[in-house]
């Protein structure tokens, strides 16, 4: 994929919550207990996938993120623990 090649290798992993709507990133780690990690992966949120932030609800509300044509609404607490590399 051409998108991966644009990434600088020294980019640091940041929490997904630091992204603004419209920004994209590659998932580095899901950072939860095994149960939630599995649930996130079966919904399509896997390490290595490219995600787009579609919306962020105000007052620490949930994010809506797009991953390979699926949209997933996910609470801010979980969003904070997912680490990504900005693209």
């Amino acid at each position: 994929m051409e998108l991966l090649s644009d990434m600088k290798p020294d980019r640091k992993a940041v929490p997904l919550s630091t992204l603004f709507p419209g920004e994209r990133g590659k998932i580095i780690s899901l950072g939860h207990g095994a149960g939630i990690q599995r649930h996130l992966r079966t919904m399509g949120l896997m390490e290595g996938k490219i995600i787009t932030v579609i919306a962020a609800q105000p007052a620490r509300g949930p994010f809506v993120i797009g991953v390979e044509g699926t949209q997933i609404a996910i609470g801010r607490g979980m969003v904070r623990r997912i680490l990504i590399q900005k693209i």
Binding site: R38, G44, G61, E68, Q71, G75
Partner: protein
């Protein structure tokens, strides 16, 4: 008879496959988790009879909610599994598939939504996938009925896989990676204009105004169309045709006396009063058919429309922050909205919440502060004549109660309140036939449930009056009712009837000659003090006896408190 379990992730069109296979049209819905109540059907394949079980959608066999626990249990029950896979999201769907196949159940895989893979530029090599999984794989497009025959014909070929062994989670993802690499090619595709428009409904700046507008338009539609049906269809039928006929018919064999009064009350042809006569064949039919049914139909039409289009998960996203303050999360909007139709499906839908704490809060708040359509129709019917002001007071009081009680319950109920994690499916064009069928099924469900109970209620009230029980009860309860809440003694009958059904209970307030203030207080108390018998039974089953007792205690305390407060505000001391 052999059992076939139909399994798959949420939103893969599993219910449509089910209805295609059984011929019985089972409702399929866009909201993740609404098929919690599983459905069974019989089907004949190649001369053999099978029982087909529509298992609730689940992402994996390690359950995260009550619905998914049911799924695991039902997999173990079945002899053959049809695993319905969303072909447009093969990778993540394969996780469940590998789990099922790894359990060595005879399995067939249906690659559903096959037609959409072409629009999305996804190529899947079915033969190779079949070889890798070592079970039959059939592309289907259930909505159009394509591939269903072939799927059925392969049921005999279902077999345990020799290539897929039980494995750990990590191994499974690696295996999925290998499979995807071999069978799937995705061509690059841009975000379409429609997807951009769809996104505006979840962005807060545009999404919140759109949500408010949608809800307002929904209520406006329900009220305007509901009233139109009453004025132009139901009232003419009841007043011009049914009324004179039934009074004449009953008079012909029983012109007066007990039987006459129980059947049609004191009605005569000249003074036909469907509300106050309280006969089995007058009020008993008028309330469910004329006053309530038109609103029930319009409500379920709008709800099914919002559901099928796929709007509800977006609403869940937008209200999530607010519901968090009440110990819930966005998904709780679904049981709440269902509760506005009828508290029974509302209470059942609380199963989509992950923890016991959330289920308790969602069910209790709904039972106390969400009036069902039958109740709302009657509140509009009897308070509307005094002006919108009183109706607004009732609903605002209930809303304030919902919020305050939620904040309180969040603090005092032990347990976890996890966050929202929900798939937001793409918008879909609703199928008009499915929409009408769904509306009809639910309206019919209302009639089947309501009419017997309303008639039973009217009958009991008649007996209570005949045997003078009402007078005794009125005297016993008058200190509470009259002194504390400011209602006439007679209101006790309505409160007792409220245990059975709320619509008929509100109807009973009418003959008591109450002021609008008293009517308003009565409506609020009737809404909050206890659920109707049907809701009570379902809540008991869902919450268990201990939590139900807690909820019931809360209801009584709250309705008394609110009654007293409203009396002080509206009537004074």
């Amino acid at each position: 008879m052999k059992k076939i379990s139909l399994m798959g992730c949420p939103n893969v069109g599993k219910s449509v496959v089910f209805s295609r296979l059984t011929g019985v049209n089972v409702i399929s819905s866009n909201y993740p988790g609404t098929t919690v109540d599983f459905t069974k059907g019989n089907t004949r394949i190649g001369g053999e009879k099978f029982e087909l079980i529509d298992v609730p959608g689940t992402y994996s066999l390690e359950p995260t909610s009550k619905a998914e626990e049911v799924a695991l249990y039902m997999l173990q029950e079945g002899d053959i599994v049809i695993d319905v896979v969303d072909a447009t999201h093969l990778e993540r769907n394969l996780y469940l598939t590998l789990e099922i196949i790894g359990r060595k159940k005879p399995t067939i895989v249906a690659l559903n939504l096959w037609d959409e893979t072409k629009h999305l530029g996804i190529d899947i090599d079915v033969e190779k996938l079949e070889k890798l999984l070592d079970v039959p794989v059939v592309p289907t497009c259930a909505i159009a009925g394509e591939g269903i025959k072939e799927l059925a014909s392969k049921v005999g070929d279902a077999k345990p896989s020799k290539t897929i062994e039980p494995m750990s989670e990590g191994e499974r993802w690696l295996k999925i990676g290998e499979i995807i690499k071999e069978v799937q090619v995705v061509h690059h595709r841009h975000h379409t204009i429609w997807e951009r428009i769809a996104d505006t409904t979840v962005k807060p700046v545009t999404g919140i105004p759109i949500a408010i507008l949608t809800i307002l338009l929904t209520f406006l539609f329900i009220i305007v169309i509901g009233n139109w049906i009453i004025e132009h269809l139901m009232d003419p039928i009841f007043y011009n045709y049914y009324g004179p006929w039934i009074v004449g018919a009953v008079n012909s064999f029983s012109p007066e006396g007990l039987l006459h009064d129980i059947l049609i009350g004191k009605s005569t042809v000249e003074s036909l009063d469907f509300m106050q006569s309280f006969g089995l064949l007058t009020t008993g039919l008028y309330v469910p058919f004329d006053m309530v049914l038109p609103f029930v139909i319009t409500f379920y039409f709008m709800l099914s429309l919002l559901e099928d289009v796929g709007y509800l998960p977006r609403l869940a996203v937008l209200v999530d922050t607010g519901l968090h303050k009440l110990g819930l999360h966005g998904s709780a909007i679904v049981p709440t909205i269902l509760g506005f139709g009828c508290n029974v499906p509302g209470a059942l839908a609380t199963r989509i919440m992950e923890t016991e704490k959330q289920r308790f809060i969602a069910a209790t708040l709904m039972a106390i502060a969400v009036p069902c359509m039958a109740q709302s129709a009657m509140i509009f019917g009897i308070l509307g004549r005094y002006g919108m002001k009183w109706i607004i007071i009732v609903y605002c009081t209930l809303l304030v109660l919902y919020i305050l009680l939620g904040i309180l319950l969040k603090k005092i109920v032990k347990g976890e309140s996890p966050e929202l994690l929900l798939e937001v499916p793409s918008y879909r064009k609703p199928d008009p036939l499915t929409l009408l069928k769904k509306t009809w099924t639910k309206a019919y469900g209302f009639l089947a449930e309501a009419v017997p109970f309303v008639i039973l209620g009217v009958f009991i009230v008649n007996l209570l009056y005949v045997f003078g029980v009402i007078d005794v009860l009125s005297t016993v309860f008058s200190p509470v009712l009259t002194t504390l809440i400011g209602l006439p003694e007679g209101a006790i009958v309505a409160l007792i009837m409220g245990f059975l059904r709320k619509d008929i209970a509100i109807g009973m307030l009418l003959p008591l000659d109450m002021s609008p203030q008293q009517l308003t207080i009565s409506c609020i108390i009737l809404a909050t003090y206890f659920p109707c018998i049907a809701t009570f039974v379902v809540m008991l089953r869902e919450l268990g006896i201990r939590d139900m007792l807690k909820a019931a205690g809360l209801m009584i305390v709250i309705s008394l408190t609110v009654g007293i407060i409203m009396r002080l505000i509206l009537i004074g001391i």
